[in-house]
Symmetry: C2
Subunit: 344 residues, 2 copies
DNA sequence: ATTGGGTAGGAAATCGTTTCCAAATGGGTC
DNA sequence: GACCCATTTGGAAACGATTTCCTACCCAAT
C-alpha cells in the first residue's frame, strides 16, 4: 500500500475523481455535502497532494530559482534569506544554484532551471550578465529579476528588465563628499574592480564627488585589486607608504577593509588622525574595530524582499503597468574613523 | 507550437516513443542506428527533457532539501555552499528552507518537502531536533542527514542517524587546556547557551579541561547570554568589571566576540596582558583585530561536503555497511591574543 | 407543461515521461 | 531448413494530479 492519492480520497468519499479535486481546490460546482465528505476523507486518510503531478498538469512548478555567484558571501546570503522568506509566504520554494563565477555553471544552471520548469528566477551573476546565460534564462519564458547587476544589453537605467538595484553611486558620492568636506583632497578607493555594476557605480560616484567639488581629479585615486585580504594589504601598504600619500581611504568590502586596516597598523598610522578610513558595506569588523569604522550601509533584507515582490508581481501577471525596478538607498553610518586630515 | 516533447523527437526520428526514451537514456536494447537517429533528431529539434514528467514517473525529484535555521549566518552559508557544489555535481538541485528557528516553519517545510518528493534532506534546525519536525522528515522515507546537531532521540554518539558532527568538545577542551597551560585559573566562557549540540559540547569540553587538570571547577565560569553584541557586551562588562575577574575569556561566535572586545576596551584592559581572549569560530574580525585573536577553526566546506557525501551514499543505496557519521576536527589557530596572566 | 438557464458531478483527456509486455527480428546451431 | 534464444522494437499502461466536456437535473419563468 503506497501513497494516498486523490483517487483514494474520492473513493472513500464516494465521489468521482474530478469532484474530489474540485472540492479540495475549493473550486466551484461543488455541493456542501461533497465538500464536507471529501475534506473528511482527505483528513482521515492523511492525504497529501503530490506537487509533481500537479505541476506536470498545471505547468507550474511552484519553485523559484536563485542563480548567485557565491551564497557564502554574507551580502548574498542575507538577500537570499529575505527573498526566501517572502517567496515561501507566497507558496514558492527557493532552489539555489551557486555558480562560483564560472560561466559554464551558469549555463548549466540556466538549462536545468528551464528543464525543471521553474516559475521564475532571481539572478546575481558574478560578472555582469553573460549574454549566453541570460538568453538561457529568459528562454524559459518565466520572469527573471536581476539583483544589483546591469542587464546584459548594457542598457543602463532604462532597461526593460525588472531589477532591484542599490544606489551605490549615490552612496559612494555621499561618502566622498563627506570626506572632501572634512578637508581631504587625496582619497584612495580600494576596489575589487569595475567588472560588476556595484563597482562601476561606486567608482563613478567617487569621481563625481570630486568633479562636483571642482577638485583636481588626480586626487581621486582608484586602486583595483583582487578582493582578498592579502592583496589589499599589499596594495594599501604601497599606497600609504609612498610619498604624497592619500589622507583618506575607502575600502570596498570586508576583506579589503581588513587588509587596509592591517596595512595602516603596519605603518603605524593611527586612525583617524593620520588616516581616515571608510568602509563600503557595514560588517562586524567595521562596527567593532577600534576606532569604529564609518561605513556605507544598505539593507540586504530590503533587496531580497523587493526582488521577491517584483517577481511575485510578474507571476501574478500584473506586470504590465507596474514598476519594473527598485532603487534602494545607501546610508552613511558615521562612526569614529574619519576626521580632518592632519595639517602638513 | 509549444514545447518540444520526446514524442516529437520520436516522430522526427521515425521510431516509437519507447525507443526514443531508451535511446536518450542510453539504456540497453537500442540499435546503433536508432540511437544515432534519435540523438540527431533531439539535437536538431532542441529537445530538453521535462524533469517534472520524469520525476512523476520515476518517483524521484532529483532535488535535495536543506532545512536550516538561518542561511544568513556565515556558518551555515558556507556549509550550504559546499553541499550544493557536491550535490550539483551529482545531478541534484538544492532547495533551501529557512526556518528562522520557528517550529511552525519547520513543520511546514517538512510537509512541503514530502509533498514535493524531495529525494533527501540536510537538516540543521535552530534547536535540537524537534521531534515533530523530525518525524515529518523521516516520514517521507527519504534519507536525512543531520548537520552538527543531535538526533531527536537524544541518543548521543551512537545514534543510527547519519550525521556530520564537528568535534566542538575536543576543540573547546584543547583551547581551555592551552589557556590553563599559560597559567590561567579563572576562565570565562561566554556562550549563547546549551540549547544546541555545539554549545553543549563546548561547555562539556571546557569543563573537562578543568577537571582533567585537577583544577577548581569554580574557575570555569560559564556565562550564558543571547547571541547578540549588546547582550554580550553587558555580560562581559559585568564579568570583567567585578572583583576576582577572570583572566581569560572564550567567546562563542562573532557577535559575542565583538561584544567582549568592546567591553575589554571600555574597561581599558589591554590584550593579551590584562586579558586573554580566544574566539570560537574564526572570522574576519578575529583575524584582523589588533591584536589578532587566537581562534578555534573548523572547515565549513568539509561539513557541507561530508554531509552531501553521506547523503549521496544513502541515495545510491549502499547505506548498509557504510559509515553513518563523520566527526570533523577543530583546530586551534594561535595568534596574539593570549598570554600568561599578569602576576598579582 | 414545456423550455431555458444554470449548477453538479461523472467520465475522460491531458501533462511528458518511463517502463512493462508482447511481438518481431536476427543470428547461430543442429 | 527448422528451432531456439537473445535482442530490438512498437504499443500501451502507468505516474497523480487538473481540467474540459458533457449529461442529468433542478427550478423558475413563460
Amino acid at each position: 500500500m503506497g501513497r494516498i492519492t486523490i483517487r483514494d480520497v474520492a473513493q472513500a468519499a464516494g465521489v468521482s475523481l474530478g469532484s474530489a479535486s474540485r472540492a479540495l481546490n475549493g473550486g466551484k460546482h461543488v455541493s456542501a455535502r461533497i465538500a464536507r465528505d471529501v475534506a473528511a476523507a482527505a483528513k482521515q486518510l492523511g492525504y497529501e497532494p503530490d506537487f509533481l503531478a500537479r505541476s506536470l498538469r498545471t505547468r507550474s512548478s511552484g519553485m523559484i530559482g536563485c542563480l548567485v555567484s557565491d551564497v557564502a558571501n554574507p551580502l548574498y546570503a542575507g538577500t537570499v534569506q529575505a527573498a526566501e522568506a517572502r517567496l515561501r509566504d507566497a507558496g514558492y520554494l527557493l532552489v539555489i544554484a551557486n555558480t562560483a563565477n564560472e560561466p559554464a555553471r551558469e549555463r548549466a544552471a540556466a538549462a536545468e532551471f528551464r528543464g525543471r520548469r521553474l516559475d521564475g528566477v532571481l539572478v546575481a551573476p558574478g560578472s555582469d550578465a553573460n549574454n549566453e546565460t541570460w538568453r538561457g534564462l529568459v528562454a524559459g519564458g518565466s520572469p527573471v529579476v536581476i539583483l544589483d547587476r546591469d542587464a546584459p544589453d548594457g542598457d543602463g537605467d532604462d532597461s526593460p528588465w525588472p531589477a532591484v538595484l542599490v544606489d551605490h553611486r549615490g552612496g559612494a558620492q555621499a561618502a566622498t563628499r563627506y570626506l572632501i568636506g572634512l578637508g581631504h583632497r587625496r582619497i584612495a578607493l580600494l576596489t575589487p574592480g569595475a567588472r560588476m555594476r556595484p563597482g562601476r557605480e561606486r567608482i563613478a560616484g567617487f569621481q563625481a564627488a570630486f568633479t562636483e567639488a571642482g577638485l583636481d581629479p588626480a586626487g581621486a585615486i582608484v586602486s583595483t585589486q583582487e578582493s582578498s585580504m592579502d592583496f589589499a594589504h599589499g596594495d594599501a601598504l604601497a599606497l600609504l607608504g609612498g610619498s604624497n600619500r592619500p589622507t583618506a581611504l575607502i575600502a570596498l568590502g570586508t576583506r579589503i577593509l581588513a587588509g587596509a586596516l592591517r596595512a595602516a597598523r603596519d605603518l603605524n598610522l593611527s586612525l583617524p588622525n593620520d588616516l581616515s578610513v571608510l568602509s563600503v558595506g557595514d560588517t562586524d569588523l567595521a562596527a567593532v574595530h577600534a576606532p569604529a569604522i564609518t561605513a556605507l550601509r544598505w539593507s540586504l533584507e530590503d533587496v531580497g524582499r523587493a526582488a521577491a515582490e517584483l517577481l511575485l508581481q510578474r507571476l501574478r501577471g500584473d506586470g504590465a503597468g507596474a514598476a519594473t525596478r527598485a532603487l534602494l538607498p545607501v546610508d552613511l553610518v558615521l562612526r569614529e574613523s574619519c576626521a580632518a586630515p592632519a595639517k602638513t
